[in-house]
């Protein structure tokens, strides 16, 4: 595991680094450099920092939840081995709540936890719809909630005044607008077919992709948009229709088991031979490549809202290398998107506690802790992961399948990486996402 074959667009990477540096300064990173002695810190509670995770333990999205739970267990052990948060307070995941129970139960649980006062933070959540229901409830209860996975851009646009909620997952704008930026760089793309899951995630991606293409003046036509059901098992009709239409580009935000089934049936139906190239942006990468094995077509771009690919900047980034190696050693598989999202969450928690303690010299309240997680930046596989206010602005990273990698798995991973900086795929803080997409400027230079 020594050689990294990734290639980051130099222009984008340098621009991204500059932007992140500036934002990091604004974010008060100087505070993080302060040397605070824990001897002077008052009020560090004796009990561990207690977290409850809200995650799919059953139902189709449970595979995403399993990755997240694996990573959480690993990261908690790692942090505790070093003494805990700021080296002084261990973390304990005291309970896990199954998201499959639905928002009724989840909101009741939030109320119970807030009332009993025996939990310090709620963390996790996969479903965007659940996040939209639970986050305002947690905020009402003044209960800190670190949202780690959902990408709906509506979370803070619908609830702009939440003081107890932060989100470390990138918005779905990053994936959709990232795809627009990719199309801008492609030659010979005139016709596009989109296929997205028939719920908000899919419709949001399709609408942003279409609106973004129009805004940047791309000379392409979306000739057809298809919306299979979430959890569809038979894509043969979609595959045949797409293969017959022979579009220049296939765009999809299908994710998890859906994208694996779709690609598998697409390969069998000869779809990828009829399509020039594909952009599969639904948090795709190692898990999909693992399930498809050697049958993965090469004329596809995979990726989405973050550089969450095990071999992306593997050699250059020591923290990423350690994360991948430790996860592989512990679970005998490479980390997927659920695992990376949790990693970002725990990093935000560590940085937030350090920042708050360095400012107030005391263990923070829930409100102080969530405030301290606003406008920070921390290391991630794609460089600095930056919080614009209470939510992360992730870059878009895409790559092509290749067998030319040195990680110890016998399936392809991604290579030929394209990095598109966060500022190019996310709206400025406080700008409504769809308005910003409608006014998207073409990339120049």
């Amino acid at each position: 595991m020594t050689k990294d074959n990734s290639r980051i667009s130099r222009r984008h990477f340098l621009k991204g680094s500059a932007a992140v540096t500036a934002l990091g300064s604004l974010a008060g990173c100087a505070l993080l450099q302060e040397d605070f002695g824990t001897d002077e810190i008052d009020g560090i509670p004796d009990e561990p920092f207690r977290i409850v995770q809200m995650i799919f333990e059953s139902g189709p999205p449970a595979f995403y939840g399993e990755e997240a739970m694996n990573a959480s267990d690993m990261l908690v052990d790692r942090i505790n081995d070093e003494g805990g948060l700021i080296g002084e307070r261990e973390i304990e995941i005291v309970d896990r709540l199954d998201e499959d129970a639905g928002p009724d139960s989840l909101i009741s649980d939030v109320q119970a936890m807030a009332q009993e006062g025996e939990v310090d933070m709620l963390m996790g959540i996969v479903s965007s719809a659940h996040s939209l229901a639970v986050a305002p409830a947690a905020n009402d209860q003044q209960f800190p909630f670190l949202v780690t996975m959902p990408g709906t851009y509506q979370l803070f646009e619908e609830n702009p005044d939440m003081e107890y909620v932060v989100r470390t997952a990138g918005s779905n704008a990053a994936g959709a607008v990232g795809a627009v930026r990719m199309v801008e760089q492609m030659d010979d793309v005139e016709t596009v077919i989109t296929i997205d899951p028939d719920y908000a995630w899919g419709h949001d991606h399709q609408e942003m992709f279409e609106a973004g293409l129009e805004a940047v003046g791309a000379d392409v036509e979306i000739v057809e948009s298809r919306y299979p059901e979430l959890g569809e098992t038979d894509y043969s009709a979609h595959v045949s229709a797409i293969a017959d239409a022979e579009p220049d580009l296939l765009f999809s935000s299908l994710w998890g088991g859906d994208i694996a089934t779709f690609v598998s049936q697409g390969v069998d139906g000869g779809m990828f031979e009829a399509v020039d190239q594909s952009l599969l942006i639904g948090d795709t990468g190692a898990p999909l490549l693992s399930s498809l094995g050697g049958s993965m077509p090469e004329n596809v771009w995979l990726g989405g809202r973050g550089g969450y690919q095990p071999n992306y900047r593997y050699d250059e980034d020591e923290a990423h290398r350690e994360f991948v190696d430790e996860y592989y050693e512990r679970y005998d598989q490479l980390p997927g998107w659920g695992a990376y999202h949790e990693w970002m969450g725990f990093q935000a928690l560590q940085e937030g506690v350090e920042r708050a303690v360095s400012i107030i010299g005391d263990w923070p309240t829930g409100e102080q802790l969530t405030a301290a997680m606003n406008n920070i930046a921390f290391e991630s596989p794609h460089g600095q992961h930056t919080m614009y206010g209470p939510q992360a602005a992730a870059p878009a990273v895409f790559g092509r399948p290749t067998d030319d990698h040195d990680l110890p798995v016998d399936h392809p991973l991604l290579g030929e990486f394209e990095f598109i900086e966060a500022a190019e795929v996310n709206p400025p803080e406080d700008d409504p996402t769809m308005d910003w997409v409608d006014e998207l400027e073409p990339v120049t230079g």
Partner: protein
Amino acid sequence: MSTRLPTFGDMKAQELKGLLLDKRLLGGGVLFAALALYPGLTMNAYHTRLLAWIMCFAIAALGFNIVLGYTGLLSFGHAAFFGTGMYTVVIAMESAGITDLIVLLVLAMLAAGVVGAVIGALSVKTHEIYFALLTLALAQLLYVLAARDVGGLTRGTDGIGLSRPDFLGIPISEAPAHIYLMGFYYHVILVCLFATIAVLWLVLRSPFGLTLKMIRENETRAEMSGVPILRYRLYSMVLSAMIVGLAGALYAVVVGHVTPEYLDWTMSGEIVFMALLGGIGTFLGPIIGASGFIILQEVALGVTTYWHFTMGLVLFVVVLTLREKGIWGGAKALVDDLNERRDDS
């Protein structure tokens, strides 16, 4: 056929005295007082919310039981009425700027009643499995409309969040969330539940209710007696829809976020589950069923990741052993049996 309801004016003083001394009425009064005082005495916001949740679904299950328990029609489309109640509240608040709770509840009941009339008109001619499938299909149409965000009103599967309504011009929505729930909204739901019980108690014991039972027991005989069966089925659907719509409207404020899942057939299934669990052959069974369902889910979620299996197993055992009597009917039968044995000895 008369649909005249009994009124207190018809009662003699003796009957009124007997009614007031009725054990069930006294028990109901004590229960109402205990529930009304619970939040203030315990200051337990979680239990208050749990009770509010249970009471909303108790209203829904009571409304559903009009169609299943009293008219003998198994509907798998009652999520349409529940979801209509929820969406009416949120859309009226968001789009029309209506913030008064009473107006919102009335609008929700009317909207659900209209949907009930349409679905009823299209489905009451069918029987048994065909009725169940037709109501399910019609309700799914509403689900699809909401999930696809037709008309831009529902925001698709992500749903819409809603703020808290005011009450008769009092800006009570500005109170903190737990004060709003424990000091005001919980009691609104409690009053609605007991009002629903009272209204249904009177309606289902009126000639109208007895006619519904007659249709359930022997449709041919009812028809031969001159009962316009289809019209009465339609009436029961509309009444049922309005009550389930009220439950949905009340629940929308409790949950604070409305998604198409509340219009989905799985929600219809949950309402059927509640009614079956409590006992469809009894008046109060659906309330016990709603309580049992929600408490069972909360307990099962807390102790096992196989909570789906646990709930399925409980329903299996209840249906297999108690059949239509459910928990409430089974408990009553057990008490009667014990009393008989005591009298015999």
